[in-house]
């Protein structure tokens, strides 16, 4: 026992070290008053250059550091004038003139000119990063863009290839890729003709309410407010977005007050947080839709009665309430809530008897569905519920579980039988989903039109292709809305797609935090400058 004193000493020293470290930590639990601390999973960020950012976390940052000609109002979620004060479209339907607001400056202090706007759009086209396709839709390519996008005095002139619906252009101009950068600053950081792309990964050169102070991949983003923002100064001086992917950890930190906002909470954490008087749960919708798709290479899926039987054999509400625990809301048309022309009614519900009757009418005996599902817990739960209710209606479902990217490969090659998938809109215009769900100009295998979900399911939407193409050209916004509603109805009742849910977003906030806007389904980025705490 003579060695005990030594052990005791070692133990005491360890304990002392523990306490020494621990004491000050306990004193500093609250977040700084001038900083909004947001916990989120930000490992999706590829770049913070607006011409390249195309992931949720990247777009959140870009939305607060840059502005575009047309902006999305974070509260009403409708398009409003951004850096352009007003705009007109000529009678030819292809020439747009944007008059720039006077007296605005970039964070560098440089004035915002029409030349900057022209440079920024041309830059996005020439860099040709992932989101460039949003602008390519208007016929702009690296070769022609210099003549189609021009600036003179305070006016930017955009010439588009066809007389598109003006709302289509305006909506697309609210997307992150159309943000305006400071030409003088960005050009000064050009390395090997990259138009400052590398530099903008870690720096910002915009007009936004905040400037990018620091970005460390997989660690965090720090934004600093800049005085004199044209929409009014940001209420909170600093934004600190911390990479905390683990939901249970976020929840604990939110309860402790070490973070102000938690953005990666799971439904389980949300349930656990209800009743905590220091924490509020803010609910809104996101843009993602969940759907089932059936490959019409299988003749069964061309049978209208059979498709109808399946639509009545799904427990939409039950799944949303139980399995998904509030992470989705039932939604049955391809345009998410909040989009121009979105249909929010729910004509289908679980009705096994009706499904059985329709199946009998279809003439298909003992049908079998091989459903591909990716190996994520919530997807599996949904698939099993469908397997169960389809089974009650007399349709046998075999689940094919696999890794997401692999299944996507099969899906793009039309090798699946049926699949459970999600789709997120690319830009805030109905054409984003309408073109992919309801258009398929060439249904042949050789076309390899993998960008069209209709093609992936060997589905020829018939007249809907033309109707959707006409809707993107319709110049009257009301008529355009009505056209999409019509397409959605037809699509909902006849296509081999069954739209089931729209993503619901649950954000955990300390109750002191007010006016935190996530952007909902339409604005593809959160707005921090209105938030207070």
């Amino acid at each position: 026992m003579t060695f005990l004193p030594f052990a005791r000493k070692a133990g005491a020293a360890t304990l002392a070290a523990l306490l020494l470290g621990a004491a000050p930590g306990a004193l500093l639990a609250a977040t700084p008053a001038d900083t909004l601390v947001i916990a989120a999973a930000i490992d999706d960020i590829v770049s913070l250059d607006p011409a390249e950012a195309y992931e949720f976390s990247g777009l959140d940052v870009v939305n607060n550091t840059y502005d575009s000609l047309v902006e999305m109002d974070p509260v009403t979620l409708t398009p409003i004038p951004g850096l352009a004060e007003s705009w007109t479209v000529a009678d030819d339907g292809v020439t747009y003139s944007f008059k720039m607001k006077a007296g605005l400056t970039f964070s560098s202090g440089n004035p915002v000119r029409a030349e900057d706007a022209a440079y920024s759009l041309k830059r996005a086209i020439k860099l040709n990063k992932t989101p460039a396709f949003i602008l390519n839709q208007f016929g702009w390519t690296a070769d022609n863009v210099d003549s189609m996008i021009t600036a003179k005095d305070d006016t930017l002139t955009l010439v588009v290839s066809k007389p598109f619906a003006p709302t289509f252009l305006y909506n697309c101009l609210t997307a992150g890729v159309a943000n305006i950068v400071d030409e003088v600053t960005v050009s000064a950081h050009d390395v090997g003709g990259d138009m400052g792309n590398e530099w903008l990964k870690n720096n910002s050169a915009g007009t936004g309410a905040y400037t990018l102070k620091s970005y460390k991949p997989n660690e965090g983003v720090i934004l600093e407010m800049r005085p004199g923002y044209w929409r009014g100064d940001a209420k909170i001086k600093n934004i600190f977005i911390q990479h905390i992917p683990e939901a249970a950890t976020e929840r604990l930190q939110l309860e402790k007050g070490d973070i102000d906002v938690a953005r990666a909470l799971t439904p389980t954490d949300i349930a656990g947080l209800t009743g905590n008087k220091d924490v509020a749960i803010q609910q809104d919708v996101g843009g993602q839709v969940y759907y089932l798709a059936f490959n019409q290479k299988n003749e069964n899926y061309k049978n209208a009665k059979f498709l109808d039987a399946m639509r009545w054999a799904i427990d939409y509400q039950g799944m949303a309430d139980t399995i998904m625990k509030g992470a989705v809301i039932p939604h049955q048309s391809f345009l998410p809530q909040g989009y121009l022309g979105a249909l929010d009614d729910l004509p289908y519900k679980l009705d096994i008897e009706k499904a059985k009757a329709l199946l009998a009418e279809s003439g298909i005996k003992d049908p079998k569905v091989s459903l591909s599902v990716r190996n994520a817990a919530d997807r599996m739960d949904v698939a099993q519920s469908i397997q169960n209710t389809f089974g009650q209606a007399g349709i046998t479902v075999e689940l094919k579980v696999g890794e997401g990217a692999e299944q996507l490969k099969d899906y793009r090659a039309r090798l699946h039988d049926a699949t459970l998938q999600t789709w997120g809109p690319d830009y805030p215009d109905p054409n984003t989903n309408s073109s992919t769900f309801a258009e398929n100009p060439d249904n042949s295998d050789a076309a390899k039109a993998t960008g069209y979900l209709a093609w992936r399911n060997a589905y020829d939407p018939g007249a809907m292709t033309a109707a959707s193409q006409a809707a993107v050209m319709e110049r009257d916004p009301d008529k355009r809305k009505a056209m999409y509603e019509e397409i959605e109805k037809t699509h909902r009742d006849t296509s081999p797609f069954i739209l089931m849910f729209q993503q619901a977003r649950n954000t955990g906030l300390r109750t002191t935090v007010k006016d935190f806007y996530t952007g909902g389904a339409v604005d593809l980025g959160a707005s921090y400058w209105l938030a207070t705490k």
Partner: protein
């Protein structure tokens, strides 16, 4: 390297040293290339397509083909491997597919965080594990021995993520004794780059060098819980092994002789027996340390710790193979390094191995 003692006595010392160095280098080279080959092949046969993970759903086949060509994925496998090995031996681990930053500089940022955490963890493991093992060995079967074994067994069998979450809930959530996840409180985290020049990228050392003692204490309050949890895991192993080595030694005749000569028990255990226990224990500690360095993934996830384990896992999930390979190579190199170091210590501790 014990077999080198067989070298004939007439070999000049310089030649022997050269031979020894050449042997070491050769075995290093073989181990390293083997590591590269295995990792490379595994990386290529996993059914994740790196192109699909970086390019959007909307991409056309032409765009996909262009990216494949750019990444060199269409070249024959052996050619891809040859290029890769050549680059690695020139100190180039390539660019991360996802971030397009050099993998080497990314690892330079993440690895020190892991190193710091694991080193503190192993120190805690040693400081508690060895005395606990000795405590058990001196009175096997006694109540305190049972306690030591029980605590050890719990460290063996409890999943680390559960331990981590419970630790957070208790010491951070309820008691408020320690800092939460992350390396610093957000207020310090934001000031960090302005006040501290990253020299070692280890937060405790860098803050101390900068004389930022408030920040140092805050960092300590954040690292202490994850380090203690890692320390607990290694403590479980170290105490068990110490106990068994020590019991073995205490049964030896030289111990009985020492006791008969009237030597104080403290000296018998901590000087005579410990000298012999230390030899195998070095290997145990080295292995345990290497395990912490590569195996802290779950701890790093729960504690939002920006370390290498999490870096490799994140990269693997998006099929960012240059990052995965780079991380694996660094872990492998460290593993080899620790083994060589423990060999060196082994020779110091055991005169027979000289």
């Amino acid at each position: 390297m014990a077999e080198l003692s067989d070298t004939p006595a007439h070999t000049p010392a310089a030649l022997r040293f050269l031979k020894q160095t050449a042997n070491t280098l050769l075995s290093l080279l073989i181990t390293f290339t083997g590591l590269l080959a295995v990792t490379f092949v595994i990386a290529r046969i996993v059914p994740i397509d790196p192109v699909m993970s970086i390019i959007g759903e909307r991409a056309t086949d032409v765009q996909i083909a262009a990216v494949r060509a750019k990444l060199g994925l269409d070249d024959p496998l052996w050619q891809q491997f040859a290029i890769y090995v050549n680059d690695v031996f020139h100190g180039d681990l390539g660019l991360s597919i996802r971030t397009r930053d050099p993998v080497l500089s990314e690892i330079g940022r993440y690895f020190p965080a892991t190193l710091e955490l694991s080193t503190l963890g192993i120190l805690i493991g040693i400081l508690i594990g060895i005395p606990a093992g000795v405590l058990g060995a001196t009175k096997p079967g006694s109540f305190r021995d049972q306690i030591v074994r029980l605590i050890g067994l719990m460290g063996y069998s409890m999943p680390v993520f559960w331990l981590g979450l419970m630790g957070l809930l208790l010491f951070y959530g309820h008691l408020g004794w320690v800092g939460g996840p992350g390396r610093l409180d957000s207020v310090y985290d934001m000031m960090y780059d302005m006040k501290v020049t990253p020299i070692t990228h280890m937060i405790l050392i860098d803050t101390a060098l900068a004389g930022e003692w408030d920040m140092f204490r805050n960092a300590l309050s954040h690292i202490i819980l994850p380090a203690s949890i890692l320390g607990y895991l290694s403590m479980a192993y170290i105490s068990r092994m110490t106990r068994s080595f020590m019991m073995n030694e205490l049964g030896q005749e030289y111990i009985t002789t020492a006791r008969v000569k009237g030597m104080p028990e403290r000296r018998v255990i901590w000087v005579h027996a410990m000298r012999n226990v230390a030899v195998p224990l070095i290997t145990v500690i080295a292995l345990s340390y290497a395990n912490l360095l590569e195996g802290a993934v779950l701890t790093e996830t729960i504690f939002a710790w920006p370390g290498l384990g999490r870096y490799i896992t994140d990269a693997l999930l998006v099929a960012d193979m240059p990052a995965v390979l780079g991380g694996t190579i660094v872990v492998g190199a460290v593993y080899i390094g620790i083994n060589m170091f423990s060999d060196f210590l082994y020779r110091l501790a055991d005169p027979r191995a000289k």
